[in-house]
Symmetry: C2
Subunit: 600 residues, 2 copies
Amino acid sequence: MSTYHAPLADMKFVLNELAGLPQVAKLPGFDDATPDTVSAILEEAGRFATEILDPLNASGDREGAVLLPDGTVKTPAGFKDAYRQYAENGWNGLTKPVEFGGQGLPQLVATAVEEMWHASNMAFDLCPLLTQGAIDAIELCGTPEQKARFLPAMVSGKWTGTMNLTEPQAGSDLAAVRTRAVPQGDGSYRLSGQKIFITFGEHDYTDNIIHLVLARTPDAPEGVKGISLFIVPKMLVNADGSLGARNDVRCVSLEHKLGIHASPTAVLAYGDRGGAVGYLVGEENRGLEYMFIMMNFARFSVGMEGVGLSERAYQRAVAYARDRVQGRPVGADRAAKPAAIIEHPDIRRMLMTMRAYTEAMRAVGYVTAAAMDNARRSPEPDARRQHQAFVDFMIPIVKGWCTETAQEVTYLGVQVHGGMGFIEETGAAQHYRDARIITIYEGTTGIQANDLIGRKTARDGGTVARAIASRAARVAADCAASTDPSLEAIGLGLASALRPLEGAIDWVVKTSAADPRAAHAGAVPYLKLWGLVAGGWQMARAAQIAVRQRDEGGGDAGFCNAKLVTARYYAEALLPQAEACAHAVTEGSASALALANEQF
Amino acid sequence: MSTYHAPLADMKFVLNELAGLPQVAKLPGFDDATPDTVSAILEEAGRFATEILDPLNASGDREGAVLLPDGTVKTPAGFKDAYRQYAENGWNGLTKPVEFGGQGLPQLVATAVEEMWHASNMAFDLCPLLTQGAIDAIELCGTPEQKARFLPAMVSGKWTGTMNLTEPQAGSDLAAVRTRAVPQGDGSYRLSGQKIFITFGEHDYTDNIIHLVLARTPDAPEGVKGISLFIVPKMLVNADGSLGARNDVRCVSLEHKLGIHASPTAVLAYGDRGGAVGYLVGEENRGLEYMFIMMNFARFSVGMEGVGLSERAYQRAVAYARDRVQGRPVGADRAAKPAAIIEHPDIRRMLMTMRAYTEAMRAVGYVTAAAMDNARRSPEPDARRQHQAFVDFMIPIVKGWCTETAQEVTYLGVQVHGGMGFIEETGAAQHYRDARIITIYEGTTGIQANDLIGRKTARDGGTVARAIASRAARVAADCAASTDPSLEAIGLGLASALRPLEGAIDWVVKTSAADPRAAHAGAVPYLKLWGLVAGGWQMARAAQIAVRQRDEGGGDAGFCNAKLVTARYYAEALLPQAEACAHAVTEGSASALALANEQF
């Protein structure tokens, strides 16, 4: 069996060398993020992931969360206790404001920590992840009284939070939300309606759950401009913070899902007994805007779930490939004994593919996280704006590309196991099943891609897109001019991928205006193209640093060599897909739309 | 909910126009395969798939096969009765010799029929599929007495058959088989050992199960040259065909699998009570050779499972996309109502991708099946040899490429469903789970790819590979010269994919001799490259015929138009991946092998 170990060497390399942690730590308010503190946090988090979360992952999948006849949800054995330790250790408030009990650390550091939670037990981590979103919404848009009443208990982990968006008729299209919120004249509202797909909408971890709920007031305009955001606690909270009566919200069923069995996905009924008491967040009819604040962060986190699951699948595949003896290696003489399958070239190809994608995704994710910190904390407004533009551009890519790529990586994880991969006890199949949700929730890949071509590329005429591509092009040119043959090959590979990207940007800008349907038909290949190139860019930067450290004798020689090999594999075996993606964007859109509905 | 309907229009088009059924029907012994008979068979099979097999697919998945305390296996409700009807209707012996009760029809016709079984209920079909392999082994290698004793009951479906290869230490590497077979001096042997992953190794359909078992005799040489093949019936069979005593083989457990839950995957223990009675098939130590006769056919069939599952996933996705209303279509005015999601360009892209791959795979599969018939029945030895060379070359491609592509198609099938795709009740996730085994069993994609580069490409210096590529090149040139703009685009696309294929063939031939490890590292991308091009070749032929029928007014105009659009989408959006595959073959192999084991 394989045990998860946080890939600390790569995490620290990416944090320090690619994402610029030393610079981030100098931003106002991050004084505590010293190298020693960060290192201690990562090591402690790694221990928690290895010792507490990873051992519960398979048993949680087998047992699943269960709805009991009394309407409560029983989480799998060990989960409640693990959550208690998680909260007690302060993990829940890592990036949250110190004034509400958090630790105020950079998002960059938290991103590495959260990768460990995603990797070791994604189903477990969904509860804290959703709680974070709820905290952010109240912190950014709530009244001082709401903050004082709810945040300390949510930041400490004493209470958890949820995001209630989806209804049966309102999935990707939130304009169709029907849940009603009627003002009571005392500042509160009464909510009624049904919400579905509510992650950890009911559980046995804590005494209270704070639901953030999208609903419509009686006179609200139609569509997305008539949606408001409400705080609806499961247990009403008295002014002194003590728990009051049970609110009128209950879990009526849990979904039977392909994966993340330990995470209860609830159908919640609001207002069966007259209306659930809710409190408006911010102003009426601005709920969607507030929800998107949370959603953007949640999208980033789901992208990082792709990184964590990929790392976990990779580690499990490597462990099996070292252990499983089968067949004589090709090229060995006839008297050679059967060898571990890691000796077989095709197994190597699969492991290298898993490894290269995972490292590239991690680099893209952490670099984006560092930009989030800079966008919030840079002293210069111009710097904040530039970083925010980068973050806005990258979020659909992190979400869309890392989650799509995680499908291939977890697929290969099963494949390395051969027949054993199809047997559930092996564990590889769980990663594959768990991964299947991440290209769907918090906005499908199609939704991310529409965001990328519309708001992120076409709206500014491709300005930000071309600026980012130029940064990658400078790295490509530097690498291509290197005397190191690997670095040169990496630079040439990146340059070859940038040409079709630049053509695709031009096509998207032009076509979005002239023929928006055609532009949207090319949206997902455009997103994949961007992800591939962004990964190639960061791997090229990593290779530059690895060569420098190797030549200067500054780094771990084995690590630098492995990074260079992996970056070259990415450039030569994976990055060439960019051309095909661009082709699908620019050539494939017309025939994608040419059939009539009834011809399918 | 979606109901499976056999895609008869496309099946007939591919059978008649691409695979040449009229020519196949003229081969000796196929007099019964008249157009009317074939049409009636396809329609009757379609009805059986829709009415009997499809409704059991989801319930079979939920219930699964269960091992009872008495060692018997209970199949899911309805399966035993469906099997009885299947056998009574004569489906089991479709291609089997008339002298043993079969119908002696071409493999080409059976391939279309079996696609329907795979599509509507793959778990159900695995039992007949394995029985066919066992029949073939006995028919080709058994004694007249063995044929007379076993074949009539197996052809009629009264008894079923299995293939027993794998042992815990012997998966892809059958040289490691340890099951022992000791001769008893009376012509029989006693077998002892453990076999795993035995599909329908125990069940409640029939009174008897005929196991075909690989084992070693006491003085056998080591490795693959010391393996013999044995018939080991679950119930001994008296000379008059009646059942005798229970043989010493029993099911000790069933695997808990990711998919195909209705298909019991058994661990079988042979010889716990002194040895299971077995009968040698053919000569001692030639078992692997005999098994490969079955295996080649089984590999082809598993490739066709990929086609069937893809078609099923496509039909379910189309049904959902027509039904699910969500969001205003892009480009519609603000007052437009929400529309069915089939109106959304990204949903179109996904459906077109599913459709184009499925049609291309079907065409490649049926064309290969027609070559199987010609290889067996052509009057001219030269023609038989040429067709056999084509079949030998195509089988790893049909197995490897159709199964890998089915992963993407069933993945997209889930994605079209959005959040509902992750909920098991919807049914899309089952196809995704069921599909996951097909790139593994009957030889993983890596095993197929090693066969393709080694025995099929390098051994004859690339002669057959280049001859097949030339045939595709002629089609590309004809299309490119067309005055029809779609046909021209299709021809140019195919020609663009053939150039990297030709380069990759040269590289494989050269590198297999100079650096076999590097050649093997490129094996799977080489196989995918071949699959993409073979699909593009057949879609281009289909487009030529569609244009001709359209211009001559001979065919269904809507069908011809849809075929042309689909072929163009394949050429413009999917086929460009060929270049990236070739790059991975020729450039990616060195870095795939550059890390030391301990660096992973």
